[in-house]
Every structure is written in structure tokens, then in C-alpha cells.
């Protein structure tokens, strides 16, 4: 198994940004009845989401979050040696958005900058990659940016996905400090299921064309989308995750000698309230230790874990806290992490 361990590195500050435009799921009825909207919203636990306008990208949300963080904690920008941007909704196919952000944020040209293309498991992968590079003795500070504009990915006429996804961006400052102690990560992939959550067109396997933008009825329920839209086989994703996620959690606990009682909080990817309710039940967790932000922001893919921490655990990470993280989805890719927080400075939520 891909199991990774790091010492004395962690998230010292965190900031999140969301679009100011609120989508009320109960009145999101351009293509579906109010009854359908109500039913889906209640079952998924998603009441509201935030949508960007046509000119705002994931990078803009991350930029706003990063600016807020850099000012709030008085970071000397010349000390940032590493910038990673996690997203599946980048600005361009090339160059990497992280490099554009290096300049926008006024970071030194000597900084390492690159993008990571991962979804719901992405923030945990990003943490692990950053922690790994921070083992370099001369690396001082790293900025881990994670942003998604999933509102621009899915068809509003496909009821499987129309009510689920939202937009957001976060910035995490990662530093070395003995207070962080040990962190543990388990990272996993299953490419045989890559078609379960996918956008077919727009890459080089199926370049965009007049054909790929045509909307079509795709199933017996009358859902409509094009090859440029994301789709999801919710049933099979769920079938897979309810087996593999608990297995991976069990595996990292056994490897590290921890038990579920050792954790102050469990932050799960916010896919829908149903999936999280299932995990809480299966693992017999105290739901007071499982913060949720799905009600306000929907599923923001890789952003959902840090967005939940930034909005729900804001004043709760001052003293040392041991937190279990679990991210799972598109890939399929899934990850578990055991990390410590101490004196984590969380900025006010930024609205863009």
C-alpha cells in the first residue's frame, strides 16, 4: 500500500474563498419542478451552493483566499519556496495555472510551482506532496492552493448532478514546526473505474468539436448533457466507496496503531449528506466530531475538506488537535490522512 509518513510539518494557516452568488437549491427550478428540487435537496442535504460568474476561475478564488491569508498572518512572500495548485478546472490547458499564480501573488521566481490534476482526493494528495517536498532543508514555506468551479462542469439539465456541485477555493500555508508531530497518509487509485466520473471531451482523446457541444437526452429519465459536461454513475461510485473507504480507514489505523477514539475530528469529503451519514453509521462515529459544510456549499470536489475545516472548525484548532481526513471520488482516487493541527490561523471566509 502507498503509505507515507512525515514529521514536523503541517498547516499553520488556512483561508477559504467562495463566490458571493448563492444558489438556493429549493428554487433552482429552471429545468426541474419545485417538488423535485425539494426532494433532491432534502435527500442530499444540500440547501445552498455558491456559483461563480462566467469570468471567474478557480484560480481567482484561490488568489483571493491566498491574498487574505498572506496579509492576515503577515507572511514574507519571498519565503514561499513552493506553490501547488490543485484543480480540475484550471485557467488554461497550458501553461499550468500555478505558474500564473506565482506572478499574480508576487512570489519569488525561485519558487517551485506546478499543478496537480485530481478531484475529491486532491487536497490530501496535495498535502502529502507538499509535506514530502518540505523535507528539503532549505524549503521554508509552501502555499497549497486548491480551487474548483464545478458549476461550470456539469449540466443543469442532468438531475444526477444538477443539484450537487458548488465552487470554492482555499489557500493553506504549510510550514515546519515540531509541534505538528507525525502525519500519516494512505493514497490509492483505481483506473479501471475511470469512466464512473468523467468529462469525455476537451482533451486530446476527444477534442472539442461541433459534435461534442451538442446536448442530448442521455437516459430514460430525460436527463440532458453534452460530451463537454461531466457525468457521474452515482450508483457504482457509491458501491465502490462504501467498500473501499472504510477498508482504507481501517488500514491506516492499523498501520499507525491508532484507534477511532484517538481523534478530535473526522473531516470527510463532502459528497452528499447521505454518503457521510453512511460513514458515520458504519464507523460508529459521534456525529459531533464530524463537521459538515455540504448544506451551505454543496460538493466542491477537492476543496470540500479544507473548506469544511475553514468554516466549521474555525475556532477549534487553537490547541493541539488530531484530525482524521478522508477524500474520495473521481479517478477513482481515494486517500486517508492523520494530521495534527496546532494554533492554526483560519481567516474569515472571503466572498468574491
Amino acid at each position: 500500500m502507498a503509505y507515507l509518513k512525515y514529521s514536523n510539518v503541517g498547516i499553520s494557516a488556512l483561508s477559504a474563498a467562495v463566490p458571493k452568488r448563492i444558489i438556493d437549491n429549493f428554487t433552482y427550478t429552471s429545468f426541474f419542478s419545485a417538488e423535485t428540487a425539494k426532494e433532491i435537496s432534502e435527500k442530499t442535504g444540500i440547501k445552498e451552493r455558491r456559483f461563480v460568474d462566467d469570468s471567474t476561475c478557480a484560480s481567482d478564488l484561490c488568489f483571493a483566499a491566498a491574498e487574505k491569508l498572506l496579509v492576515d498572518v503577515h507572511v514574507d512572500r519571498s519565503e514561499i519556496d513552493l506553490l501547488i495548485f490543485i484543480s480540475q478546472t484550471p485557467d488554461f490547458r497550458m501553461p499550468a495555472t500555478s505558474i500564473v499564480l506565482q506572478d499574480r501573488l508576487g512570489l519569488p521566481k525561485s519558487a517551485v510551482a506546478f499543478d496537480v490534476n485530481l478531484g475529491c482526493s486532491g487536497f490530501l494528495y496535495g498535502m502529502s506532496i507538499t509535506y514530502s517536498l518540505m523535507q528539503q532543508s532549505n524549503f521554508r514555506k509552501a502555499l497549497l492552493l486548491d480551487g474548483e468551479t464545478r458549476s461550470r462542469v456539469y449540466s443543469a439539465k442532468d438531475r444526477q448532478v444538477a443539484f450537487l456541485f458548488g465552487d470554492g477555493g482555499v489557500a493553506a500555508l504549510i510550514e515546519k514546526d515540531e509541534n505538528f508531530g507525525e502525519s500519516h497518509f494512505s493514497l490509492n487509485s483505481d483506473g479501471s473505474r475511470h469512466s464512473l466520473i468523467k468529462i469525455n471531451a476537451g482533451g486530446y482523446r476527444m477534442p472539442s468539436s461541433c459534435e461534442t457541444v451538442k446536448e442530448k437526452v442521455v437516459d430514460e429519465y430525460g436527463n440532458i448533457r453534452s460530451e463537454e459536461h461531466g457525468y457521474m454513475d452515482g450508483g457504482d461510485v457509491f458501491n465502490f466507496l462504501i467498500r473501499e473507504v472504510p477498508k482504507d480507514i481501517d488500514s491506516i489505523l492499523r498501520t499507525t496503531g491508532h484507534t477511532l477514539a484517538d481523534f478530535d475530528y473526522f473531516v470527510f469529503h463532502q459528497a452528499n449528506a447521505f454518503m457521510n451519514g453512511y460513514l458515520v453509521k458504519k464507523l460508529k462515529l459521534d456525529s459531533a466530531k464530524v463537521p459538515m459544510s455540504i448544506e451551505k456549499f454543496g460538493n466542491t470536489s477537492s476543496v470540500s475538506i479544507p473548506l469544511t475545516i475553514a468554516t466549521q472548525l474555525r475556532d477549534k484548532l487553537k490547541d493541539r488537535k488530531r484530525v482524521f481526513l478522508s477524500g474520495f471520488g473521481v479517478g477513482l482516487s481515494w486517500a486517508s490522512a492523520i494530521v495534527n493541527f496546532q494554533d492554526c490561523q483560519i481567516s474569515d471566509l472571503v466572498e468574491v
Binding site: Y221, G235, N239, I242, F274
Partner: protein, 75 residues
């Protein structure tokens, strides 16, 4: 096992106004939709420790078909 499945389906799909029969076509249930499918998947995992993939599920129509699939997988 039959009664266990009836109870499971009623609970998962929140069916309160009627009994379920083996000959019922569950796709025709007004409670059956993509979210209903998720709750049924969770129920099958919890009560029977089986996972029926979408491709296989699409071939099943009646509650009896579902019961046979559970029996096949449980062997």
C-alpha cells in the same frame, strides 16, 4: 431472506403505504430514482453484504430478480 429484502426495500425507499411482492417491478415504484438507488445500495451492503453494479442492476426489474441476484452473490 425474502422478508428481510421486503423490509429493507420499504425502509430504504420509505415505502409506508403498501406491502411489497416478489412480482413488483421496483423500477415502477414512484420512490425509485437515482437517490433511491443509493439508499438501496447501502441497504444491500448493510443487510446482505452484496454490491450490485449499475450494469447488472439495469438487467433486473422485479423484486424477485433482486432476490435471485442477492442469492447468487451470497453463494
Amino acid at each position: 431472506m425474502e422478508q428481510e429484502l421486503f423490509n429493507g426495500l420499504k425502509e430504504a425507499l420509505e415505502i409506508e403505504d403498501r406491502e411489497i411482492k416478489l412480482t413488483d417491478n421496483f423500477r415502477q415504484f414512484k420512490e425509485w430514482d437515482s437517490l433511491g438507488q443509493l439508499t438501496v445500495i447501502a441497504m444491500l451492503d448493510e443487510r446482505f453484504q452484496v454490491a450490485i453494479e449499475t450494469k447488472q442492476l439495469n438487467k433486473l426489474n422485479t423484486v424477485g430478480d433482486l432476490l435471485n441476484e442477492i442469492k447468487t452473490q451470497s453463494k
